[in-house]
Amino acid sequence: MDEKERQRILESAPVGTFALLAVVLGSMVIAWLFLYFGVFIPRGIIH
């Protein structure tokens, strides 16, 4: 692991993190929409 390789890694964009979190956030949004429209709203009026 020479210095140039180290520098390249330090400058590189964290694509793995982005992909991981995009999946996590995406599934959170889907789960939220499912609970909101699938479970909460059908349970009746509320105010």
Partner: protein, 207 residues
Amino acid sequence: MQIELLIQKCQNLIGQAVDFVHDFIRQSRSVHIDDLERKWINITLSVIGLMIVIIVLDALIHNIRPPSKVETIDSARLHLSKEFAESNLGVQLDGNGDVIVRMVAGRYSFFPKHIAVPAETKLTLRWVSMDVLHGVHIPMTNMSTMIIPGYVAEITTSFPKPGEYPVLCNEYCGLGHNHMWSNISVIAKEDWKAPVQNFAKKEPDNG
């Protein structure tokens, strides 16, 4: 003379504020944020924005809100008030034919102990507590509210599916908290018969 002085002061203040904001933004630009992190921040903000939009629109258009009618009542004199006298509790039709349910929460039960309401109908439930904090929740429905002594908790909801439901206290109210529950029968709309009581006026008499 003071007025000019005052206006002068206001202008200075506004001037300072504007300069401050410019300075704030200029400095923010100097902070290095990785492009991918900036993209992530924008995506997160848009997801949060999506949820906020759904919630706010549902609140404004479909009136999907938590129960929040602020109305005080003297919880010590409930039994002496007209609206929450023992004979006036339970399910009734109010002036314009809407179903209204008045319940008293007291350690350790909800009074009256069994009520029958129509399914798929807009119901207004008014809960009061005669002693401490209670919470009431009918599982699998949106009928959920806190009951605070000194306040009337009014919630408007409906029960889509007929059936027998327990009415559970879900706020710690003493050592008998897990014994505090009662029953509600949600009857299909057509089979439900309105109780024969007289039209009690809805305006609360604070006793």
